[in-house]
Amino acid sequence: MAQMNMIQALNSAMDIMLGRDPGVVILGEDVGFFGGVFRVTDGLQRKYGEHRVLDTPIAEGGIVAAAIGMGVNGLRPVAEIQFADYIYPAYDQIVSELARLRYRSAGEFFAPVTIRTPCGGGIRGGQTHSQSPEGVFAHVSGLKVVMPSNPYDAKGLLISAIEDDDPVVFFEPKRIYNGPFDGDPNKPAVPWSTHPKGDVPEGYYTVPIGKCDVVREGGDVTIVTYGTMVHVCEAAARSLGLDAEIIDVRTMVPLDVETLVNSVQKTGRCVVAHEATRFGGYGGELSATIQEECFWHLEAPILRVAGWDTPYPHAFEWEYFPGQARVAAALRTVMEAAA
């Protein structure tokens, strides 16, 4: 076991896979010589060479298209999109091609591409360095969508993603690259070394895609969340003294409905929380599915906590971010509802 932050854990996952499988290649803007603007690919080009870790032109659509072609030719490309806010130029290649290639060719062709991209706010990035667009990928049939909330999962899920023969869009909440974050920007930053999930095996292991993680068992209410919000929700529940069951969705697609349903059938109450904008977002899917499956067990409406339906504003980051207060307000409403 080593102490790793999320950047190191992700780096370790790629390092291991580059070493194990000569078909694994890394490509993206500034990922090679420089090691990535968040340094997630640091040292990999030096170790594996310029033909395995490629700097690319600044063309997200081209990066994904090239990765698809490489995948079709037997490689296992891991493409980095520098910020999730810049993934849209690749949207057509992802939605129309990557997601549907296996289907349309009846399984003759597929491209085992992993697309890594940092998402989320809290680093004063303004509207173009803060987005959480998982919702517009989760709706697309044929894509797996993942977002880890800690170094252990990050490494295990990334290895699973790279080994997966289906395409995976892998979101990395950049706010928690260096340490868990409970939503209070005024508190001193906490490193991952203070967190049990910062203990990361140095070698190969996987965390399965398609399984939620019950971060905390509890009987009062179920909080369904993922990414940075896992830590915010934990803190909010703690501050209210609630015995909350907290579920880290981890993989948006495929969704582990069973774990969610078991929990809400037990607690009878549920809050869904994500950082992405609320309207039409992934939280709607979570809420609707849980409601369909657990209607007769529900003692209160399922509430959603999310970013407001505006772009992520630079100066009002903390008024925008769904922090502990917003989660707590929803939890209180849900707990106060008559049974």
């Binding site: 690319t56 081209g62 298209a65 490489m70 079709v72 030719n73 399984g107």
Partner: protein, 412 residues
């Protein structure tokens, strides 16, 4: 001095007008030089503006691009083109008769796919668009298989999921056709990059129409191919039309599409797309360049869309009826036929016999194909195939939906 104003590209003709093809920059056969494959791009910019032609007006093969193919090879080429045409004709009629939902012919452009298919190695990977059915003919996919795809029947390679003509063939090294234009162009470059990373000497070739060159993926392909010097051939089939709009709307009014190559420091060639020998020769040249590490080539094939865009389209609304007959570069089948006759290796009689043979082959194939069902007649594919291959393994939510459909159908 004139005021700034919005320029609207001009069409060579609209319904009721006589086509004016004077905009075409032609060149006599044999006139264009053939540089060595290791020539620096900057020393052969001219190729992007000239027009490689081999078969001259007297049906003779002339000039430095003459590939000197043996008559049997030429006869095979003719046969492939004629089979492609016979297939197209019959499939068009079958769509009109309501047997399939959709079809797209390659009338007038057969030389492009056939000559290029023949000039490449079987292990070279092909990323076609929807008008290169000739590639399947060259590589020997039984017509029955293609027809079953058109019919979405029980032997449909696409398992009922794709619109007709969206073939694929892994074992034949032909990539799946996408309904989305141009997406395969940069994918082919990625494939070629992987070939180079792996150190194999296979190359990739890919095709789009000139209209499709407007899409962003054209740029991605040009850029990645030139930056990494990927072993790939990028083909732009300039058949002058993109549904109802003329090639000028894709930027062909001011400069050839081949010229985009030199703009990126990439070799660019313009070829008479209706000249089997010329297409073969430039493809061989580009393939040798790519295979030997001298980088990618963009080839513009100057040709004409002889038929409608697709069976959903009525060209009488936007172009004259007789335009194809007036196309100055002729018909690719006729031109190769005449060349073979000129060589003393072919005759009208043999030609008529071959045409008949091809048509009979198509008819027999069709007869077999329909025994496997049609879109509307039994035997039909199991609709539950719809849930497979979304992912490698079916996830829970799809299993649930499949069960729902089963219940829904049981009720009926």
């Amino acid at each position: 001095m004139r005021p700034s104003r919005l320029h609207i590209p001009k069409h060579h003709s609209r319904p009721g007008e006589t086509p004016d093809f004077s905009y075409l920059e032609l060149a006599p056969a044999g006139a264009t030089q053939r540089p060595d494959i290791n020539t620096r791009v900057r020393d052969m910019n001219g190729l992007a503006f000239e027009l490689v032609r081999v078969i001259d007006d007297g049906h003779t093969a002339v000039g430095p691009w003459n590939p000197h193919l043996d008559p049997p090879e030429l006869q095979v080429g003719l046969r492939h083109m004629m089979l492609t045409r016979a297939f197209d004709d019959r499939m068009q009629r079958m769509q009109r008769a309501g047997k399939t939902s959709f079809y797209m012919r390659s009338l007038g452009e057969e030389a492009v796919a056939v000559a290029q298919g023949m000039a490449l190695r079987p292990t070279d990977m092909l990323f076609p668009s929807y008008r290169q059915q000739g590639l399947y003919v060259v590589r020997g996919r039984p017509l029955v298989d293609l027809m079953c795809q058109l019919l979405s029947n029980t032997r449909d390679m696409c398992k009922g999921r794709q619109l007709p003509i969206m073939y694929h063939w892994r074992d034949g090294n032909i990539f799946s056709i996408s309904g989305n234009l141009t997406t395969q162009f940069p994918q082919a470059v990625g494939w070629a990059m992987a070939a180079a990373i792996k150190g194999t000497d296979d190359i990739a070739a890919t095709w789009i129409g000139e209209g499709s060159s407007a899409e962003a993926d054209f740029h991605h392909a040009m850029l990645f191919a030139s930056v990494y010097e990927a072993p790939v051939i990028l083909n732009v089939v300039n058949n002058q039309w993109a549904i109802s709009t003329f090639q000028g709307f894709a930027g062909g009014e001011h400069r050839s599409f081949a010229a985009r190559g030199p703009g990126f420091g990439m070799a660019g060639l313009r070829v008479d797309g209706n000249d089997f020998l010329a297409v073969y020769a430039v493809t061989r040249w580009a393939a040798e360049r790519a295979r030997n590490g001298f980088g990618p080539t963009i080839i513009e094939h100057v040709t004409y869309r002889g038929a409608a865009h697709s069976t959903s389209d009525d060209p009488a609304r936007y172009r004259p009826k007789d335009d194809y007959e007036r196309w100055p570069l002729g018909d690719p089948v006729e031109r190769l036929k005449n060349h073979l006759i000129d060589l003393g290796e072919w005759s009208e009689e043999r030609h008529a016999a071959l045409a008949k043979e091809m048509d009979e082959h198509v008819v027999a194939s069709w007869k077999e194909a329909v025994t496997y069902g049609t879109l509307t007649e039994a035997p039909r594919l199991d609709a539950h195939l719809m849930f497979e291959d979304v992912f490698k393994e079916m996830p829970e939510h799809l299993k649930k939906q499949e069960a729902e459909l089963r219940a829904e159908r049981a009720e009926k």
